[in-house]
Symmetry: C2
Subunit: 349 residues, 2 copies
DNA sequence: CCGCGAAACTAAACCGGTATAGCTTGACCC
DNA sequence: GGGTCAAGCTATACCGGTTTAGTTTCGCGG
């Protein structure tokens, strides 16, 4: 019963035509009469014919797959809520296009470059997504050398020689700072991400800008690697200051949650004594206490759009950059009036 | 400068032999004299020859890739810290074997089955990992029909017709219950996972067993879908009871964190009024306040072992099931003596 | 010194598609 | 009525490996 998968030759034989013609018919190429084309398609359907991916790959040297290389240490990978959601978005598009996603998780820069080389050399993917853009990114040159199409994720930047799917996350930071300033906060700190990553640096500089716009001093900034533990460390450092901040803007949710933990451990009430904002709008951020005021983007949609862009780029050789709706502030319970505006409760702790 | 990738024919030509012989030499097949073999290998190395994956796939009908299908809705995928870590473990093994991981994220059962069919039909992967085992799992029959090798993740179960990589998570639950009982808790509740998933049901039944072993009544159980929001709901339900529990054992960390949030919102102090345990030992669980007592497994190692098993299964046609070190209790700050043992503070709230 | 078998190697088929060159056929034009 | 051209189709090369059948070479026993 379970017989061999039919090949294009089987279709040709039963249709009484050459296999070349079958190939034309199936790929909507000219040179086939409408009746014959229909007959061939019908027969292919009846036989349950499905093209062989490897045969097609061999003759067209395309793989019908896209690649995503994530450079992140195994210990901290779970802390980043962006990727699973992004991948889910990518998949929703690829599934209906019959494409697959090849994922590669690597611990360091050397392995990362090796991974791109292998993906390209093995012709395993037709294009790749470029995330976590860094300043002076070594990948730009490599991908150009390999001739691998790529779509970058992040803000437009003249230094990025690829089409990109952009999301303005600076607006969210600006909103957060404005929100806090309007609540009377003046000592607002920023727990920044990795300065070597573009989004880390960008969020930081937009923090600087927003602070200056509010007439405040953006001096309280601590750099981290985006991990929860570094977020906790940074928080401790800030709170140990002789004049600790009354509000902290974190560059991602896990760090904000860790910061919340540190504050509570020290007996500070949030937002009574300290206001906190996160970044990402992760599921869990709505369920901690107090629920986190955070800056939301839509990583699922980001994945969808990026997938469509990369497919387009692979198919046509070029694609326009896309700008997604900017990240915006979601105000929940972790932000409130600055302590000094209600008295000096915090001093008693 | 950047010239065409050398093919096996190029190697054969420069070595002055037939390409068949080159293939033999490169694959360690008999019928090649030692000197000739060395010469061929040297030349292949000099030329920088790398076999073409698609050509090899076509003639051997193997893809040198493994598949992982994750069935999870886009909105909740980020809540599950297991997969990123598991994938990182898988990748660490695949990278050194020159294999790739093809990932598929699907929202529902129909898409899941379609995904396996496509992966197999396209010969996109040589084998798959089977996670989130369910009772009467439809995938078992499908994979058998497709002839796709699979390694299951979970506890051994006679109903699972595949070799598996097992981790005894019941022991952790038992330890958690014993720990709480020894602290004087008697009204211990369980926020269980999805009962249709094997690990959900298993954790629940091991909770039942552990409670009975401690001479307690395992009546307070709420079933969820493992998401943070359902964990919060379940917690509210339990705390609304006329005789609320003094300790809650959660089936995963995100639900425990959400539960912690609910408790704090109601003015309950953890662990003073309510003890809480999580499950998974996620990074973030150590940074909430109070730090979560949780049951730790090692998903990265799980991924490594599973990858090795599946590779072995694909290569040799069979592999023994593997048992990993059992999950164990990591006691942190979210568990403490039962309220009644210190007085009736909780009653005042 | 012949015959035989194994070792070393070659030639060619094969996997299942795509792409190109060439062959028929019929319509159209002058 | 012969020439031209396009449409429709066939035959075949090709992608780059693997694998099988067949050929040459050589050592060795009788």
């Amino acid at each position: 019963m379970a017989q061999r998968k039919p090949t294009i030759t089987d279709v040709a034989r039963t249709a009484g035509v050459s296999k070349g013609l079958v190939s034309f018919a199936l790929n909507d190429k000219p040179g086939v009469s409408p009746e014959t084309r229909k007959r061939i398609l019908d027969i292919a359907g009846d036989l349950g014919w499905r093209p062989s991916l490897s045969a097609r790959s061999l003759s067209t040297s395309t793989s019908y797959a896209l690649g995503l290389v994530i450079r992140r240490k195994a210990e901290v990978i779970s802390a980043d809520p962006f990727f699973p959601a992004f991948i889910a978005g990518v998949e929703s598009v690829l599934a209906e296009e019959g494409r697959a996603l090849v994922l590669s998780v690597v611990p360091d820069a050397a392995a990362e470059l090796r991974s791109y080389r292998t993906l390209a050399g093995d012709n395993r993917v037709d294009g790749v997504f470029l995330t976590d853009l860094r300043n002076a990114d070594e990948r730009f040159g490599l991908l150009a050398e390999l001739g691998l199409p790529a779509v970058a994720l992040g803000r437009p930047d003249p230094a990025v020689p690829f089409p990109s799917v952009q999301l303005d996350d600076t607006r969210g930071i600006a909103e957060a700072v404005a929100h806090l300033a309007s609540l009377g906060h003046s000592r607002i700190a920023h727990v920044a991400g990795d300065p070597h990553m573009m989004h880390g640096g960008r969020r930081r500089s937009s923090f600087d800008d927003a602070m200056r716009d509010a007439g405040l001093d953006p001096a309280l900034v601590v750099e981290t690697d985006f991990s929860a533990s570094s977020g906790a460390d940074a928080t401790r450092r800030l709170l140990d200051d002789v004049r600790p901040p009354t509000a902290i803007v974190y560059a991602n949710d896990p760090m904000a949650i860790a910061g919340l933990g540190v504050a509570q451990q020290r007996g500070l009430r949030v937002p009574h004594d300290l206001s906190i904002t996160g970044f990402d709008g992760t599921d869990i951020s709505g369920y901690v206490y107090p629920a986190l005021t955070t800056i939301t983007s839509d990583p699922v949609e980001w994945g969808r759009v990026a997938a469509r862009s990369l497919l387009e780029l692979v198919a046509s050789g070029s694609v326009d950059s896309v700008e997604l709706p900017p990240a915006s502030l979601l105000i929940r319970a972790s932000t409130g009036p600055a302590p000094s505006h209600r008295g000096s409760d915090a001093a008693h702790s």
